[in-house]
């Protein structure tokens, strides 16, 4: 199969605010294939989450003004609501940031998983009274099958005592268990693409490692394509095959993780890496990038990073920066790229390395 599972081309999503039009995603392009984990890396406000939601067409109140999102040969930007619902229910699943908030607090965990199972099962219309559980209208056998399947899914996610836990409410679960329940919901439909928006940000390190390990297992065992959105270089480094660095809604650099994170060609990627705690000497102050993320109102006519970039030249401010391919799959949007080797800091000898959650002990 030559087509990738998901192809995002020149995606532009905008919001209208009283201050003006926010160009949250400003011409981003990337692909995700089956059996690979693609990371989207960026600071807050770089357009990561809006990109994720735009793919599923949950960008409301924003609007996709241009570009295409092709999933399995269907263009989602032009698909109608019922097609989208079918795809969301069965082919693309999403996992969002904080599992405390992404599960409905008044519905049992089992019921929420069972719902996802039933959506996938039934081609017929979803009936309101059936889903509300109004006695005469509830399809008892379908729901009890779905609940059984839910327990199975909880078991697969290693949630202890799934039979008794399925009738528990989200607030009775710990953070890690909740995120596993969220994963169970996402996997109930046996999707081919999983979009995870900061799935581990709200979790502690141990739980984070567990969830990320599950992503890798899913990729290897189910040939799942995963789009992992994170601001954490460490998470991206230990999980992803490829990475897309997003800034100001535009792709700054993309390519295989090891290339991008060890030989960053874009000044922004370099700046991000140098802020990593791992790259500071003991006792040295953790660096932070100068300046703040660009104001997305009105969009950018030139490189969005130009104002914070030490290499910026007048050319950088004159228009769209063309994307160049350095070597296989490694693309960068910078007129100065490839940069010279970074100026040696007197404190640092080793090349910059990302933080890593899993291999922390080796530090």
């Amino acid at each position: 199969m030559s087509d990738p599972l998901l192809r995002v081309e020149d995606l532009q999503t905008q919001y209208h605010t009283t201050r003006g039009t926010v160009h949250a995603v400003d011409g981003a392009s990337f692909t995700v294939d089956r059996g690979e984990i693609v990371g989207i890396l960026g600071e807050s406000g770089s357009g990561k989450s809006v990109t994720a939601r735009s793919i599923c067409r949950l960008e409301d109140p924003g609007k996709i003004v241009d570009g295409a999102v092709t999933f399995d040969r269907t263009d989602l930007t032009t698909a109608d609501e019922s097609t989208l619902r079918r795809i969301r229910g069965s082919d693309i699943s999403m996992v969002f940031q904080d599992p405390t908030e992404t599960l409905n607090p008044v519905s049992s965990v089992g019921e929420q998983i069972a719902e996802a199972v039933r959506i996938h099962d039934t081609e017929e219309r979803q009936r309101l009274l059936d889903y509300l559980g109004v006695p005469l209208f509830r399809n008892r056998s379908a729901w009890s099958d779905a609940h059984e399947r839910a327990i199975e899914l909880m078991d697969q996610m290693d949630i202890p005592n799934p039979e008794s836990r399925s009738s528990a409410y989200p607030h009775e679960f710990s953070g890690g268990l909740r995120q596993r329940a969220v994963l169970a919901i996402a996997l109930a439909s046996e999707p081919s693409l999983l979009i995870a928006d900061e799935p581990t940000t709200a979790l502690d390190t141990t739980t984070q490692a567990d969830i990320l390990r599950r992503f890798r297992t899913l990729r290897d065992e189910r040939d799942l394509g995963i789009l992992l959105i994170s601001h954490d270089i460490g998470v991206i480094a230990q999980t992803c095959d490829r990475v897309v660095v997003l800034y100001g809604g535009q792709v700054m650099e993309s390519g295989p993780v090891e290339t991008v994170l060890t030989e960053p060609a874009h000044p922004y990627t370099r700046a991000l890496l140098s802020c990593s705690v791992r790259n500071s000497e003991p006792g040295e102050r953790v660096r932070s990038a100068d300046g703040s993320p660009p104001d997305p109102v009105g969009g950018h006519v030139a490189c969005p990073f130009a104002d914070r970039c030490q290499y910026a030249t007048p050319t950088c401010r004159e228009g769209r920066i063309p994307t160049t391919e350095l070597d296989d799959g490694h693309r960068v949007a910078c007129v100065e790229a490839p940069l010279d080797a970074p100026a040696e800091s007197p404190h640092r000898r080793a090349p910059p390395m990302p933080d890593g959650g899993a291999d922390r002990d080796s530090i």
Binding site: R53, C56, L58, R85, R86, I87, R88, G89, S90, S93, M94, F96, Q97, D98, E101, T102, L103, N104, P105, V106, S107, E115, A116, I119, H120, R125, Q126, L128, Y131, L132, Y169, H171, V182, I185, S189
Partner: protein, 316 residues
């Protein structure tokens, strides 16, 4: 829910009821005018009653005892289901209430149903598309509903629906047809308040992350709204419905007068004008009890609506 909390809650309720009964009973002693003189004057066709007659009346009705004694006697009897006799008809107050109560309950329940049936769909329609024409129409309707006085809406409905269109009886009580206009009158004002609250609560909830999760599962929007959002928005709504009960009971006074319905409202108004204190006390106490008990029931529903809330509205 645990038994200790329930007991504590019941104890609080009893304290409130004690306060209600003291205030209800004590009210007579702070209002100007001596009931003995007022009533005897009326019974004697406007003549000033003799001092002996007044004394005799006071002794007969136990009005010569000090307040605590009178109060204790009243409570003792009330607990046994005896609220005394009307000064005028010598009819038992409980019997008078018993004949009127069903009409008022019917009115209250019907107007609540009208209110909820209008308010919940209207509030949801507003919240689903804020800023749309539906939203503006619903909000405008709510504003009109809140601003319109009950008696005026009542007369308006009588003129249009009864006199012009001849759809419903003008006044009185009886079958369902007598209930329609009073229930609409009383229900529309409540509907307005509830609809605004449903809108606010739903707007709040629809922004929550689990709504996005529900949509990302591929659920139909209708199920997202009615199953996932509505239930989360219900706690404040149910609270306000419980509190609106005082509005129902107050409104019943006006609406029952407008529609000439025999009910607690008309009974209370007549008794107040006639200084028929046993009746005033009995009805007021009953209204207090209904109010306290209903809000207790509302508290009980919280933990059913939202499993995170332990009994009594305290989060676990």
């Amino acid at each position: 829910m645990n038994g200790w909390k329930l007991a504590r809650r019941v104890a609080t309720m009893l304290v409130v009821l004690f306060g209600v009964s003291v205030l209800t009973y004590g009210l007579i002693f702070v209002t100007p005018g001596d009931p003995a003189r007022t009533i005897l004057t009326q019974q004697m066709g406007g003549q000033t009653p003799s001092q002996e007659a007044v004394e005799q009346f006071r002794v007969a009705k136990g009005l010569d005892d000090p307040f605590p004694v009178q109060y204790a006697r009243w409570v003792e009897n009330a607990v046994q289901g005896d609220l005394g006799q009307s000064y005028y008809s010598d009819q038992a107050v409980t019997a008078m209430i018993a004949t009127r109560l069903p009409n008022t309950i019917a009115l209250g329940v019907a107007s609540m149903l009208v209110a909820v049936a209008i308010a919940v769909p209207a509030g949801i329609a507003s919240a689903v598309e804020p800023g749309s024409q539906t939203d503006y129409a619903a909000q405008f309707g709510a504003l009109v509903g809140v601003s319109m006085p009950n008696f005026w809406l009542g007369y308006l409905l009588i003129i249009v629906c009864s006199l012009w269109l001849d759809l419903f009886p003008v006044a009185g009580a009886g079958g369902l047809e007598y209930l329609v206009l009073p229930a609409l009158t009383l229900g529309s004002g409540m509907a307005a308040v509830i609809a605004r609250l449903v809108r606010t609560a739903m707007l709040d909830v629809l922004d929550d992350a689990y709504i996005r999760t529900a949509r990302s599962k591929g659920l139909r929007e209708r199920i997202v709204v009615y199953k996932h959002a509505l239930r989360n928005a219900l706690v404040p709504v149910v609270t306000i419905i419980g509190l609106q009960l005082s509005y129902v009971l107050n409104g019943a006074v006006v609406v029952e007068v407008v529609f000439q319905r025999p009910g607690l409202g008309t009974l209370l108004v007549d008794a107040i004008f006639a200084r028929d204190y046993p009746v005033v006390q009995g009805v007021t106490l009953l209204i207090g009890v209904i109010f306290v008990v209903t809000n207790f029931a509302v508290d009980l529903t919280y933990s059913r609506l939202d499993p995170r809330i332990d009994f009594g509205g305290e989060p676990t």
